[in-house]
Symmetry: C2
């Protein structure tokens, strides 16, 4: 039986997560989700990446928007705007319920892990997803316009400011989720989903002890490139790399993860890199437009992991 630890951020990672969840039983995969994007807004505790995974795995994600919940309405936000309230973070009426439920459960003393379990079970999700930590970690984006909280950079400023660096406030004091650490003791492989390495995966890897535990496990660690043909499929990854003075290429993503990786998954568009990276690579279709694409990439990743396990 496989025991996959999947590290993931939001939209890009969630697509592969859906494919993996389609192929793997709940006891075969644990989704460890970035919470560096979390923030408190209008009194709500909002966890964008956990929410994206939740909506994706429950079949409730909004296919038109690419974020948020399906069949959404915006009457709350329209009325809030008329009252002079902040509307830069687009909270749909139904989506708001998830944040309200989480906020109420947290206020009642539940951990983020317990809240995530309550919510995912209520929505019929059989697979387990957990926040990377029950302690707060806040991604700060340093930019030419000053430091800003991640959602301010990402949503309010629409990623326009030029990035100069990142900071994961609280990460040094945060404890990796014990569920993740326990899973690692019997895991067969780690899969780093095609999420932004800087703001979706690095917050996880910044948690004290997690990287060391992954290394110590000796199991295959496979990342799927979020960069295809020099472009990010979604979000600001390529833009960030250029602003940081790094070529926006899949090779640079592999280099970013450095010696943590034992395998790297490239898109056909980057097949030329196949023999030129210092880790084992496989080439497949990583652009996930359809559900079939998600399952197909999951199959390729699992085959690659099996191959590396057999080789190791």
């Amino acid at each position: 039986m496989r025991r996959i630890l999947a590290l993931t951020g939001g939209v890009g990672g969630a697509k592969l997560a859906l494919g993996l969840a389609h192929r793997l039983a709940p006891e075969e995969v644990l989704f460890a989700v970035n919470t560096g994007d979390d923030f408190t807004h209008l009194g709500f505790e909002i966890c964008p990446d956990l929410d994206t995974l939740t909506y994706t795995l429950s079949g409730l994600s909004n296919p038109e928007l690419g974020w948020g919940r399906v069949d959404e309405t915006w009457n709350f936000l329209d009325a809030l705007g008329a009252l002079g309230g902040d509307t830069w973070f687009r909270l749909g009426d139904r989506d708001l319920a998830l944040h309200a439920r989480r906020t109420a459960l947290l206020a009642a003393g539940a951990s983020r892990t317990a809240v995530t379990e309550t919510i995912t079970q209520a929505l019929g999700i059989r697979h387990r997803l957990v926040p990377m930590s029950d302690d707060p970690v806040r991604t700060i984006v340093h930019t030419a316009d000053g430091a800003m909280a991640f959602q301010h950079y990402f949503v309010r400023e629409r990623c326009a400011p030029v990035v100069t660096g990142f900071e994961f406030a609280g990460a040094e004091q945060a404890r990796p989720n014990p569920v993740i650490m326990a899973w690692l003791t019997t895991a067969s492989a780690v899969v780093i989903c095609p999420s932004n390495p800087f703001v979706s995966v690095d917050p996880l890897l910044a948690l004290p002890g997690l990287k060391a535990a992954i290394r110590a496990s000796g199991i295959p660690v496979v990342a799927v490139s979020p960069i295809v043909g020099g472009q990010a499929l979604k979000g600001p990854t390529a833009k960030m790399m250029q602003e940081l003075g790094v070529p926006s290429s899949a090779a640079e993503v592999a280099a970013h993860y450095d010696d943590l990786l034992t395998g790297f998954v490239l898109d056909h568009a980057d097949a030329a890199l196949h023999e030129r990276l210092p880790v084992a690579t496989t080439v497949t279709g990583t652009v996930m437009l359809s559900f079939a694409d998600r399952v197909s990439l999951a199959d390729s990743v699992l085959d690659f992991v099996d191959h590396l396990s057999a080789a190791g």
Copy 2:
């Protein structure tokens, strides 16, 4: 020029308030609103009576429901219920925006008076309504089933428990809104709207100094009976009176306000009481089904006040 201080609770009081606002200029009336019903729910600061006045005076009240906001949708609440959240307090999607806006402004340090002004102005209300106090007062209903917060009694338990008494927690330490006290120094009359005397008006009268200031002013104090023909037009007033061992009659409402009153407004159904009360009375139609009814009652009340002023 008239200077009316109108003391009011929610639905019944709001109907007369709308009539008064139609007849009086903003500088001629101040609406002092009960906040004993206020509570915190799902992290929102909710002020039911202020909200009812706000929706009524802005033309946004829901005519079908008799509470809440017009053109309402319930997607938030439906989604919250699916997640196992509390749905006993019916928060509509648009209504929720008002609570969110208030909560955010309060969290930013604004007073309830300032928040009410911001919200009412945003909705185009020209007349001034103010919370009875910027300090918290919480109406507790003592019942045969134990003590409970007002909204729990009123909404969650649908007024079913047998009432044994009331408590206005915090009232002794609360300061009457300075706006109300200042208005009283130049007021020409006090109008007690047809609200529940026990849970809508008594919390106001329990504020230290307010009753004494009204008495000291020497101006007419006129109450409109919320009981017509022995029945409450809205809400649990009659039921409460019976449970407290008091006949549910307009005469008992007048007796409840005791020597604070100089005048009492009866419905035609209670015309027989006209000569039998210890205060001046007038008989008119107090059942406000239409907008015209609201304006007509306001006219009757203002005429009565003018008559008492001239007599005094």
